[in-house]
């Protein structure tokens, strides 16, 4: 089963269309394997992007280099998944 240890979901807010295009270009960097949970749409709308733990520093560096502000929406994806799994097992046992 695929695990997501150290994976993060970043929330990026692009201030203008040029910044939206920069975030979109992040998705074209195949080696980063980013997964847009919420696609780059328009300026000021939040963009959520899932990045693996392996590539998180590179993705953050790319955003910072381009002057884009972001916050960490999900600190560690695997923690949430384990919580979800625990709940399902507990409920089934009950």
């Amino acid at each position: 089963q695929k695990t997501f240890h150290g994976d993060q979901v970043l929330r990026v807010t692009a201030k203008n269309e040029a910044e939206v295009a920069i975030v979109r270009s992040l998705g074209e960097k195949k080696h980063l394997h980013v997964d847009f949970w919420s696609e780059p749409r328009r300026a000021l709308l939040p963009i959520d992007v899932h990045v693996s733990g392996e590539h998180i520093q590179a993705a953050k560096a790319f955003l910072e280099l381009n002057g884009l502000s972001y916050s960490v929406l999900i600190e560690d994806l695997q923690v949430l998944l384990e919580e979800e799994k625990r709940e399902m097992i507990a409920s089934r046992t009950e």
Binding site: Q1, R11, S38, P46, H50, L73, E84, S91
Partner: protein
């Protein structure tokens, strides 16, 4: 689950548990609910639809499918609660009773069972179907880019590794073709709703063109009524509008196909949340999500009931 009354709607369930629940649910509501199989998935899982009907022949009908993108677990979870709510309110709630006395409702609770199974057993973040095509580097197709609505146009990817890969041909996905064949064969659907998550949006055609749908004003007004009702319960804010101008361009989507096929009330819900948990909405939010969504859905279904076309 031996009894739908002891079934927990407040947790996420596997596809096997949902299928078992369907049988119990149908048995508990004989005369109102029946189960139909409209096809099989790529990996040969049944594509089940629950039909709510109080009689009549080929009545005007409402279609709602859940979980076409498999990682959006809140969809099927909301669908299960909604099905149970409809069955328990029929004969008690005047609006539900009047609705089901005039129209049928079809619910496809697990629209992409292969993907849903895969999210439970292999990769929680899987979104697409599990179809393999020779020559493709990656597995799976985005079923919501595979409908016949400007297929393979802007807003869909030709790269099989993309999350928005449109597939090798229109309706190539068995899960999509089953819906298309069933809806066309029925011929009397008045409402077509596709339930997704997340981002709290109520969307209507079009996604593939910026041209306004000819019923834009009515759909926009109905969206306002629906999202206002939804918000009235827990204050959950929703944005509404055409897909393209509200979120982004997308070709090959289910509701664009439905609308172009003559189903006026074609909508797409994006359920909770605003991004704190994304696709990993905690199970404790299932019931509140389902409760508020019910209010929004009912406004659309009631409007279709009261405005025959």
């Amino acid at each position: 689950e031996r009894n739908t009354r002891i079934f927990s709607y407040a947790i996420y369930h596997t596809v096997e548990e949902i299928f078992a629940w369907m049988d119990t649910f149908v048995a508990s509501n004989a005369g109102l609910v029946s189960k139909m199989q409209i096809g099989t998935s790529y990996e040969n899982r049944p594509l089940y639809v629950l039909k709510f009907s109080t009689g009549g022949n080929n009545r005007p009908a409402n279609w709602i499918n859940f979980g076409i993108h498999s990682r959006e677990w809140i969809g099927p979870a909301t669908g299960l609660w909604f099905a149970n709510k409809l069955a328990s309110e029929y004969g008690k709630d005047p609006s539900v009773t009047s609705l089901l006395d005039k129209m049928d409702i079809y619910l496809e609770l697990v629209t992409n069972p292969d993907g849903y199974y895969f999210t439970h057993n292999e990769n929680r973040m899987w979104r697409k179907t599990r179809a393999k095509y020779s020559g493709n580097l990656c597995i799976g197709v985005d079923p919501n880019r595979n409908f016949d609505a400007n297929f393979a146009g802007p807003g869909a990817s030709s790269n099989s590794c993309s999350e928005t890969y449109h597939g090798p041909s229109v309706n190539s996905e068995k899960e999509v073709k089953a819906i298309v064949d069933f809806v066309k064969g029925h011929g009397n659907f008045k409402v077509f709703i596709d339930m997704h998550s997340y981002s709290q949006l109520l969307l209507f055609p079009y996604g593939y063109t910026s041209t306004k749908a000819k019923d834009h004003d009515e759909l926009n007004a109905l969206s306002k009524v629906s999202t206002t009702a939804l918000r009235s319960l827990y204050g959950t804010p929703y944005v509404y509008g055409p897909i393209l101008t509200t979120i982004y361009q997308s070709s090959g989507s289910s509701i664009d196909w439905a609308y172009d096929s003559g189903i006026k009330y074609a909508f797409c819900f994006e359920l909770r949340d605003t991004g704190r948990y994304g696709f990993l909405l905690p199970a404790k939010q299932i019931i509140p999500t389902a409760e508020e969504t019910y209010l929004g859905l009912m406004k659309i279904l009631e409007h279709a009931r009261d405005n025959p076309y």
